[in-house]
């Protein structure tokens, strides 16, 4: 049913939009550095679940939006997200059969990679964050991954996005 599958694209778009909103949501002072990489997580999920629908192009565009939203150099998040989308696409069959805990560790690794790319770009621009808490989002994302996974899976099944 190509037509009905197409009509469900808004679910994916909506989830990504929510992720963007969560990224901009103000948090209390202590939690700011722990903000999970929402966009990266949701993107990893869709790349894993529907590799033929969500790919590098969408990741790149989303990354650009994230750049503009956050006021970073255009392309910084875009490059990072495109790279993790690529890796997820390559490994989506393996990721799918892993138990949740193992998945979470892998997602943590992917997001660390994303952050290394961003850090690399930032240090080229001369604005490295220089604080260990820079790495915290990867770990908070790891802790949250099982919930994200379950919520998005249920949403996907309920609305039969495929």
């Amino acid at each position: 049913m190509p037509q009905s599958a197409h009509s469900r694209s808004w679910i994916i778009a909506l989830s990504l939009l929510v992720a963007l909103m969560l990224t901009a949501m103000p948090l209390p002072e202590w939690a700011v550095n722990w903000r999970p990489a929402w966009v990266a997580m949701v993107l990893i999920y869709w790349c894993m679940a529907l590799p033929d629908r969500v790919g590098i192009g969408i990741s790149w565009t989303l990354g650009l939006l994230l750049d503009v939203q956050q006021g970073t150099v255009l392309g910084q998040n875009a490059l990072g997200l495109a790279v993790i989308a690529f890796i997820t696409l390559k490994s989506h069959q393996r990721l799918r059969v892993f138990p949740l805990v193992q998945q979470a560790f892998l997602v943590c690794g992917y997001i660390l990679l994303f952050q290394i790319i961003v850090l690399w770009i930032k240090s080229m621009l001369g604005i490295p964050p220089m604080h260990w808490s820079y790495w915290m989002p990867a770990f908070s994302s790891m802790l949250l991954w099982p919930w994200i996974f379950i919520i998005l899976r249920d949403v996907r099944r309920k609305f039969k996005v495929q």
């Binding site: 939009l17 963007l20 909103m21 990224t23 901009a24 949501m25 103000p26 948090l27 700011v32 550095n33 903000r35 650009l64 939006l65 503009v68 939203q69 956050q70 006021g71 970073t72 150099v73 255009l74 392309g75 910084q76 490059l79 770009i121 621009l125 001369g126 604005i127 964050p129 220089m130 604080h131 820079y134």
Partner: protein, 260 residues
């Protein structure tokens, strides 16, 4: 990325995209704004009255002080007329509201709800009741991003109000400290000195307060002393800021350059 950083070709792209992203920011901002409005509506009568009387007192005080400034300004203009140089004190201002959205962590950026539509331009100085806040770095149709003076990549040309000593105030990355760079150990700086913008960078207007010196330390091995400044703008707390259009910005540019 290189093109964005070194050249300006992607400004249009950024602007269009930022107009697209604006609804997202607005949606995030909405509940917080509603909450604030609600808590403002539900303030008790007593505290309102207290605030009212306090504000009235303050307005009274400021008005009194303003009268004196009027006289001084008139005198200053007269003296300047004698010297043959013109200067216009009337800067155009616009109040912008901060949007409650988080931007790039580890950088000191804020988003305000005024954009190109309201005539905001890149590099525009932003101030608040206390002093200089920062400058506009990116803008969209409806909103723009402001780099605070405390960002480690930001510097303001300043001078010390007491003796006119010129220096540069560089951000540290903490929102309660700036550093004055390259002040020799024998420079005449004291704790408590007011630091104002010198206007030499041609970005910020002259004479707006930047902060007060909180600490002067001399390292025996260092040629320069370490001078810390507490910003006088309420960078972490304010909800509204003022966008400034300098007089002499458009049209009479020749005037602006012969100011000093």
């Amino acid at each position: 990325m290189f093109i964005d950083y070194r050249q300006d070709h992607l400004k249009v792209v950024r602007e269009v995209l930022s107009t697209l992203v604006y609804p997202v920011q607005l949606a995030v901002n909405m509940p917080i704004k509603l909450g604030r409005n609600l808590s403002e509506t539900l303030v008790s009568r007593k505290s309102l009255m207290e605030e009212n009387s306090r504000l009235r007192e303050q307005a009274h005080l400021l008005n009194t002080r303003l009268q004196r400034f009027d006289v001084i300004e008139a005198e200053n203009l007269r003296l300047r007329a004698l010297l043959g140089s013109t200067i216009n004190f009337q800067d155009k201002v616009l109040i912008a509201e901060l949007m409650a959205v988080e931007l790039e962590p580890f950088r000191h950026l804020i988003e305000i709800n005024k954009g190109r539509r309201d005539g905001v331009f890149e590099g525009q100085p932003v101030v608040d009741g206390g002093g200089i806040v920062g400058q506009v770095v990116h803008m969209g149709q409806f909103s723009s991003k402001v780099l605070l003076i405390t960002d480690p990549n930001h510097a303001v040309p300043v001078q010390i109000n007491r003796n006119g000593l010129r220096t540069i105030a560089v951000g540290t990355g903490q929102n309660n400290a700036l550093l004055l760079e390259h002040l020799p150990n024998n420079a005449d700086v004291k704790t408590g000195d007011l630091v104002v913008s010198s206007g030499l960078g041609q970005k910020f207007p002259r004479g707006y307060p930047v902060g007060t010196i909180s600490e002067v330390t001399h390292e025996p091995g260092d040629p320069f002393s370490k001078v810390t400044v507490i910003p006088s703008a309420r960078l972490a707390q304010n909800r509204e800021v003022l966008l400034l259009w300098l007089s002499g910005e458009e049209g009479n540019h020749a005037d602006g350059e012969t100011k000093d």
